[in-house]
């Protein structure tokens, strides 16, 4: 099972075991990670699952689609080049060890 690490704005790290095929958002909810709200349940319609992918992982998680980019405009915290909606990142074995940073606010 791939392991994912969520880093909160104050530097706290939470590592969860995730199932391949799930999204990073689903893994966060299953692992009770504070800081992912996911109001729309992964429908790419809320921007409350916003994360910053750690720089060295960004090439592996890929880039947002046009729809995801449009929805990122609604994020409550600053959007950076590494911003993603975590419901749109599907977990693969390749992403074992992935680290993402949580924004200051989702709402």
């Amino acid at each position: 099972m791939p392991r994912l690490t969520f880093v909160s704005p104050d530097g706290n790290e939470t590592t969860v075991e995730a199932s391949t095929g799930d999204s990073v958002m689903q893994a966060a909810l299953a692992g009770n990670v504070d800081g992912i709200v996911a109001e729309c349940g992964g429908a790419m319609m809320c921007a409350t699952c916003h994360v910053y992918v750690a720089d060295d992982w960004a090439p592996k998680t890929g880039t947002p689609s046009d729809g995801e980019r449009a929805m990122l405009d609604f994020a409550a915290s600053e959007v950076k080049p590494t911003s993603r909606l975590s419901c749109q990142i599907a977990i693969t074995d390749e992403l074992d060890g992935l680290t993402v940073h949580l924004p200051d606010a989702q709402i």
Partner: protein, 391 residues
């Protein structure tokens, strides 16, 4: 095969007066149950209500049998699925962006809230339902939607007519007649604003929808503005009255919130305690199962978020208002692709602006005969009055 048990004892009257005691029993005895009087399969556990709403592929919003289409004279975004729903929802979304909330709607609400509070008389009994909560919700909504000339009375009358029509499951004549009468007035109001907003666009929902690069059909612009009229007044009104009731009947909690300034937590607790929209329905697209119980294709599922918010698995003493409870998530804004578009607006205006403002102005506000306040409603729920004395 194990179909849901049928309960033929629960009456609509019971669900309207005291749904929470019915839900408590159902969560323990029959969390997936066919309720004869409402003709639907009712879900009362938090895990089930959320799972249904988060799985739009299996559970569609397009319930073919609701009176909503008749009442709205249209197929609105609330009853659409997938790409079609997304296109119409995204057409209105820019109005509700975080930057617009912060720079336009928040300051506008603050101004109106101050003016409406200024009007309230001191040292006599004031009914907050009709003098503050209803009209103020109407005022800010009229501005946000782009029809500021609609009066508070018109907005509230239209809203209630749309709600009563959409909830007219008995297909009685009066509610449909009343809402039919409102459509002409609403359409005329919206149409009169179009040339102005084409010439001078702003961030209102009407303006954003008609000035988009690839606009949706004008019939859908109208239909979806009406969804916001029907869905944007009662809930802010009822949630404000509910949280005020909760705080005023629990003075120790009120003192602590005044000290901490955590008004948002009080607001969330009010929403959890009595969800303004108590239940939402979905239609099964295929044969499936919930909690090991068979659900047939075409079956209408009623997800009771009101009950989810009192689920013993998540909340201790869920029937009690407790603004100091540890942070927990409620489902009062729904979830999944149709989750409330006004969520952040409501949190900002009521939780961050109105609550601190009203208690700063009237620190000694007193409820008058709280035991006489009547709580009412099955689909929508709130107190029917909130008499207070201000000084």
């Amino acid at each position: 095969m194990s179909f849901a048990p049928t309960d033929d004892t629960i009456t609509i009257d019971q669900l309207t007066r005291d749904p929470y005691s019915v839900y408590r029993r159902l969560r323990a005895e029959a969390p997936v149950v066919r309720v004869k009087s409402i003709g639907r399969t009712l879900l009362t556990k938090a895990a089930d209500t959320r799972a249904v709403k988060d799985n739009p592929a299996l559970f569609s919003n397009n319930d073919p049998n609701t009176p909503m289409k008749r009442a709205f004279q249209a197929h609105t975004l609330m009853r659409k699925d997938g790409a079609e729903h997304m296109r119409e929802r995204m057409a209105m979304m820019p109005t509700f962006s975080p930057v617009n909330l912060k720079t336009i709607w928040g300051p506008a609400y603050e101004k109106h809230a101050a003016a409406y509070l200024d009007r309230l008389p001191r040292n006599e009994v004031v009914e907050l339902f009709s003098t503050l909560a209803g009209p103020l919700a109407a005022r800010i909504l009229a501005e946000i939607l782009g029809i500021p000339d609609a009066t508070d009375e018109e907005m509230q009358f239209w809203s209630q007519a749309l709600i009563d029509g959409a909830g007219n499951f008995g297909y009685a004549d009066e509610p449909f007649k009343r809402v039919d009468g409102c459509h002409d007035a609403m359409n005329a109001m919206v149409e009169s604003r179009v040339p102005l907003l084409k010439a001078e666009p702003d961030q209102s929902a009407l303006s954003v929808m008609i000035n988009a690069d690839d606009p949706i059909e004008f019939s859908q612009v109208l239909a979806n503005l009406k969804i916001a009229i029907g869905g944007g007044i009662n809930e802010p009104r009822d949630s404000l009255l509910t949280v005020l009731f909760g705080l005023l009947t629990n003075p120790d909690q009120l003192e602590e919130i005044k000290r901490s300034g955590n008004w948002s937590a009080a607001f969330e607790e009010g929403l959890r305690w009595v969800a303004p929209i108590q239940a939402s329905s979905r239609c099964a697209n295929e044969d499936t199962q919930i909690r090991g119980i068979d659900i047939a294709k075409g079956e209408i599922i009623m997800t009771a978020q009101a009950s989810a918010n009192h689920d013993e698995e998540l909340f201790e003493d869920g029937d009690k208002f407790n603004a100091l409870r540890p942070k927990t998530t409620h489902q009062s804004f729904g979830s999944g692709p149709h989750h409330c578009m006004g969520t952040h607006l409501a949190r900002l205006t009521i939780g961050k602006i109105m609550l601190p403002m009203i208690f700063e102005r009237f620190p000694d506000m007193q409820l008058v005969e709280p035991e006489k306040v009547v709580w009412w409603g099955f689909g929508f729920r709130g107190p029917l009055s909130l008499p207070v004395r201000l000084n």
